[in-house]
């Protein structure tokens, strides 16, 4: 696509730029830096700060005579027109004077407290005051002062004295995530940035309920309005020190920091980040520029959650169980102990390998090689979450070795995107921002419209958890059965009170090149992956799997699933010579167990040892069973941290967290995301530890070299055929008894994850856990918003305040999967889609519901 070009002259340099380019951008192309505060390439122009004033002349009149604007104009808000002549501060005295005077004006109320300001040293205001400001201020009076700092959210502090009212933060909040947590307040000289604060605004509750209808009423654990998962970005884009981070407050100066471009480990977007460290400790992370994914934004989790890597329970020394307790030992002793356990188990009933979903490609490859070539087992499963054999089949068929599939750019440019088993914000992170910025039409198969869908202006097709497979199947059928609008899906939509028009629109949009996004939650819906594949095939839509964790795609590529080998080969379809080359035998080990089966086998003593890595028990679908299994068998654990290991691990081998090793993630697009080692460390990667055990066991297998996996994958190339797709039929939902409901549950972006350990400011800024019910269900239960409801199973109960969600599917209760006070797997032993009992608060007097 070649854009229309216009020619202009900036400071005597003639250049050709795309039409509608702003003067400030065109000048950048010519290498001319016009000072600016409010301008940001990803935000709409506002011309609020007036720092970028330049002299502009453009041809006017019938002869096209060059006519100058009477006054200097803001370069950030005027697009280049053909023949425009711009003179910046470099060539125009008027522009120079105008900029100097604006800088002087901006500095009038600025406290000049640079020595105590976190921005000092990397502050555009400092830099531009020097480059374009007047040497001396003529202002000789009292400056406006405010109490400081104001806590906008627990992690964002606002210092109003320093603010130059450029409105980057308010524009970000409104335009990018749509979390209007910050706004301009008051007028004239008293104008300031702030969040709703009755004291600041002189707001009296008696003057009417002026609170506008918010998109959501989410609150933080302290009861304050939730500011969104992307609020931390305003700290980075603030051109002065007005918005600062509580966690980074007074921690360092820019010249203390050593910056490393890296990749965030918290979600499968693998966002580009810049890691800043000082004296061997990471102090902060900033968003890097990644035009293909998050642009210049990252989630607050990627930004603020990094201390987990050096948390108090970080393992520093190898440990071996001696006389019932873990004792610190040397590396050779620990490696020998691990080798002995694995050798013994190999001779016995076998070893299960549970490497977890957060590995780099290199480490995932090491686990795969270690399992198949050294241990000779196919018992390997990376999915430390609810999963199913059908999902493994789907991943082998649709994901493994497919290279770069649907990219983020393609996804947001699609005519429509359908989310199934996936929440674009909680499970999608910055993908949500891209969708919102692009205005992509989205449809979501969910029991209610989540915060994300509401803010995307998307349509929710209300479905109880478990009904997705049936819907997708009907969608496929309707697309297959030619042009008939009166198809099954529309009928069933009408029956199920779904907007039939939405469904038809969805079908047509998918036909026009839409994308179906499936998430990890579809694993618990029998037949859903098969139906999604069918729907994609019949509508011609593209299908993309977006996992939550950063390491899952790499684990699929490396073959960390039973029956799936490296490079997308399957155990039964791998070529003989490839098998010989890869595994040193004609047939690779096959018939392995997946995680639930391994744990079940281990629990009854049918599996002698488990090799685990990066596993958190509470993440597993059945933590109680896992506890039994891990206590029963010998366990060799390769972990970064873990207090709980003391209870059941027999050999603990401490491995490096991402910032202490180099590696490659693969994001959900299939792009390789390599990252360097940020800190000097002696902690070995998983691959090196596994290599040491391999050497100890006496195998001549080598996989620990960082480039090895890339050579193997290149050598293998794409597989010739693909394994069969899953073809499990959709299961009909079992009828609910009275007082029962279907549990809908997914993880909030910031919850009780291991990755947010020791980040008090981040967790204090997250959403408090709430239960959600449809109005009718709530009414039947006799509760309303704010009441406490109890969700229980035979194993336990979770009581949470209720939010009545209009438009939610009846007889469904939604809980966050692992938020404070709502550990669904651990407390209930239930998963997304399970049937649970629903009661009104047992604490309430005589409110016991037990029909």
């Amino acid at each position: 696509m070649s854009a229309e070009m216009v020619t202009c002259v900036i400071d005597g340099i003639e250049l050709e730029v795309e039409k509608n380019t702003l003067i400030i951008r065109a000048a950048e192309q010519a290498g001319i830096m016009i000072p600016r505060f409010c301008d940001h390439p990803l935000l709409k122009p506002v011309a609020a700060c007036r720092q970028c004033l330049v002299d502009v002349a453009s041809p006017a009149g019938p002869e096209g005579k060059l006519r100058a604007f009477p006054k200097p104009q803001p370069a950030c808000a005027i697009a280049v027109t053909p023949g425009m002549v711009v003179n910046t501060q470099l060539t125009s005295a008027a522009a120079r004077t105008a900029q100097e005077q604006v800088a002087e004006l901006i500095l009038i109320n600025h406290p000049l407290d640079c020595p105590i300001c976190d921005k000092g040293g990397e502050c555009p205001l400092q830099n531009q005051a020097i480059s374009t400001g007047r040497p001396i201020s003529r202002f000789n009076d009292k400056k406006n002062t405010f109490p400081k700092p104001l806590q906008l959210t627990p992690q964002i502090l606002l210092d109003r004295e320093r603010c130059v009212l450029c409105q980057r933060c308010t524009r970000f909040a409104a335009q990018i995530p749509g979390d209007p947590f910050i706004a301009l307040q008051k007028r004239g000289a008293n104008q300031q940035i702030g969040r709703f604060d009755a004291a600041t605004l002189g707001y009296a509750p008696s003057c009417g309920e002026a609170v506008d209808e918010a998109v959501d009423d989410s609150v933080t654990p302290a009861g304050e309005p939730f500011a969104g998962y992307f609020a931390g970005n305003v700290i980075q884009i603030c051109p002065v020190g007005a918005l600062t981070s509580a966690a980074y407050r007074f921690r360092a100066r820019p010249f203390d920091l050593v910056s490393t471009a890296s990749v965030a480990e918290h979600d499968s977007n693998c966002s580009t980040v810049r890691v800043d460290c000082r004296r061997g400790a990471v102090l902060r992370r900033m968003a890097g520029d990644d035009p293909n994914m998050g642009q210049e934004w990252i989630t607050d989790k990627d930004r603020f959650a990094f201390r987990w890597q050096v948390a108090a329970d970080r393992l520093r020394r190898p440990q071996v169980r001696v006389d019932g307790a873990l004792q610190p030992v040397s590396w050779p002793v620990a490696i020998a102990a691990a080798a002995a356990i694995l050798r013994e188990a190999q001779a016995g009933t076998g070893v299960g390998v549970l490497p977890g979903g957060r590995l780099t490609l290199e480490d995932a490859f090491a686990y795969a090689e270690f399992a198949r070539r050294v241990l000779g087992t196919d018992n390997v499963d990376f999915r430390a979450r609810a999963s199913s054999p059908e999902e493994a089949q789907f991943l082998a068929h649709h994901v493994a070795a497919t290279g770069v599939g649907v990219t983020c750019d393609e996804l947001v440019a699609a005519p429509a995107v359908l989310f199934a088993g996936f929440d674009p914000e909680d499970e999608g992170g910055v993908l949500f921002l891209r969708l919102r910025a692009a205005g992509t039409k989205v449809f979501s198969l969910a029991p209610f419209a989540s915060r994300a869908i509401k803010r995307l202006g998307g349509r929710t097709i209300p479905l109880a958890p478990g009904a997705e497979a049936q819907f997708l199947g009907e969608l496929a059928e309707s697309a297959e059965s030619a042009e008939s609008a009166e198809s099954a899906v529309v009928e069933s939509a009408a029956a199920g009170a779904r907007p039939a028009a939405d469904v038809v629109e969805l079908r047509e949009a998918l036909r026009a090149g839409g994308v179906i996004v499936v998430g990890e939650r579809l694993a618990t819906r029998p037949g859903a992956y098969a139906a999604a594949l069918r729907a994609a095939q019949s509508t011609g839509a593209r299908l993309v799997w977006i996992p939550r964790r950063a390491g899952e795609r790499a684990a699929v590529e490396a073959g960390l699933l039973p029956g799936l080998l490296v490079g997308g080969r399957t155990a039964d379809a791998v070529e003989r010579d490839a098998a010989l080359r890869l595994f040193g035998r004609e047939r690779p080990p096959a018939g392995g167990m997946d995680l639930p089966r391994m744990l079940a086998a281990a629990a009854v003593g049918d599996l002698d040892a488990l090799l685990i890595g990066g596993l958190e028990i509470a993440d597993l679908p059945d933590p109680a069973l896992a506890q039994v299994a891990l206590r029963r068998t010998k366990v060799v654990a390769l972990q970064v941290r873990g207090d709980e290991l003391a209870e059941w691990a027999d050999v603990v081998l401490p491995v490096a967290p991402p910032q202490e090793k180099t590696g490659t993630y693969i994001n959900w697009e299939g792009r390789l995301r390599p990252f360097p080692q940020v800190l000097t460390s002696t902690a070995p990667s998983d691959a090196r530890v596994l290599q040491a055990i391999t050497d100890k066991l006496g195998y001549a297998v080598h996989f620990a070299r960082v480039g090895k996996v890339h050579e193997v994958l290149e050598d293998l190339g794409a597989p010739e055929g693909r394994p069969a797709p899953p073809n499990r039929p959709a299961a009909a939902a079992s009828p609910l008894a009275a007082g029962e409901a279907v549990l809908s549950s997914w993880r909030q972006l910031v919850d009780d994850a291991a990755g947010v350990a020791e980040e008090p400011y981040l967790t204090a800024s997250s959403i408090a856990a709430r239960a959600r019910l449809a109005p009718a269900t709530a009414e039947a239960l006799g509760v309303t918003t704010g009441d406490v409801v109890t969700v229980s199973t035979a194993r336990g109960a979770i009581s949470l305040p209720l939010v009545v969600e209009a438009g939610m599917v009846e007889d469904v209760v939604h809980l966050p999967l692992k938020s404070p006070g709502s550990w669904v797997h651990a407390t209930l032993g239930a998963a997304d889609g399970s049937v649970v009992r629903l009661t009104a608060s047992p604490a309430g007097p005589a409110k016991e519901e037990d029909e």
């Binding site: 009292k142 406006n144 405010f146 109490p147 007074f250 921690r251 100066r253 203390d256």
Partner: protein
């Protein structure tokens, strides 16, 4: 005018007969003269007193205090930034109501100067925005241990003398950090003394501070008093 000879020093005049004859013995005249003079050799450090340096001698650093005993250092690291020898290491910290070390929000939590690196150039002194860091004339800086040559904050901090009250304690009532920098706080107030009495009754600076507070009856500029310049119409919302 004497004619120039081939000597190295062109200004030297060629000696006459007598000069040439006595020259080999002339040097002994100096020797003989000093027989009758007092020796100037200092037996430092074994004998005698500490030889006083010039008043502007660049010696060991000192971290100063405000008159009420709060530290002047705000941990801005400008000294570390200015240091050409990378001898200074600073980590800042936030003041809290219970732990107020300096005026304002920020204090120097960690402060180290490595005297094995310091070249005593004084750039740090010039850089300091609060006059917290100055140099004393003290030069007895030697140790057999390298680690001893890294001076930490407790060694560099000036003793709380002259009625000062050792930090941490709250700022003088009603005073802002600007008041401190403008010298409008002249000593500890009775509230500050009380605060410390409640928390650290054994603080050695308490007796003198108590006396100073009694003598001064609070800060020179009582809270609410107009600032030195005639006040302008107060902007609404411009509350302190």
């Amino acid at each position: 005018m004497s004619k120039k000879t081939g000597t190295l020093d062109p200004t030297r005049r060629e000696k006459g007969f007598l000069g040439t004859g006595v020259a080999p013995w002339a040097g002994f005249g100096v020797t003989l003269r000093t027989f009758f003079e007092r020796p100037v050799t200092e037996q430092y450090p074994f004998k005698g007193k500490y030889p006083p340096p010039y008043p502007r001698y660049h010696g060991r650093h000192q971290l100063n205090r405000h008159p009420d005993g709060l530290e002047k250092c705000v941990g801005c690291e400008l000294c570390a930034w200015a240091c050409p020898a990378d001898a200074i290491y600073v980590e800042a910290g936030a003041n809290t109501p219970e732990e107020q070390y300096s005026a304002g929000e920020r204090h120097g939590r960690v402060y180290q100067i490595n005297y094995l690196r310091c070249i005593f150039c004084g750039m740090c002194i010039e850089a300091c925005p609060t006059r917290a860091l100055t140099m004393t004339t003290f030069y007895e800086l030697a140790s057999a241990q390298r680690a001893d040559m890294i001076y930490t904050k407790d060694e560099l901090l000036a003793p709380a003398a002259g009625g000062m009250l050792a930090a941490p304690h709250p700022m003088a009532e009603g005073a802002t950090d600007d008041d401190y920098y403008a010298g409008r706080v002249s000593g500890p107030t009775s509230q500050q003394v009380e605060w410390v009495e409640r928390r650290r009754p054994d603080d050695p600076t308490l007796p003198t501070a108590r006396e100073a507070a009694r003598a001064a009856r609070g800060p020179v500029r009582p809270p609410g008093a107009p600032p030195p310049r005639p006040p302008l119409p107060e902007l609404e919302g411009g509350e302190r």
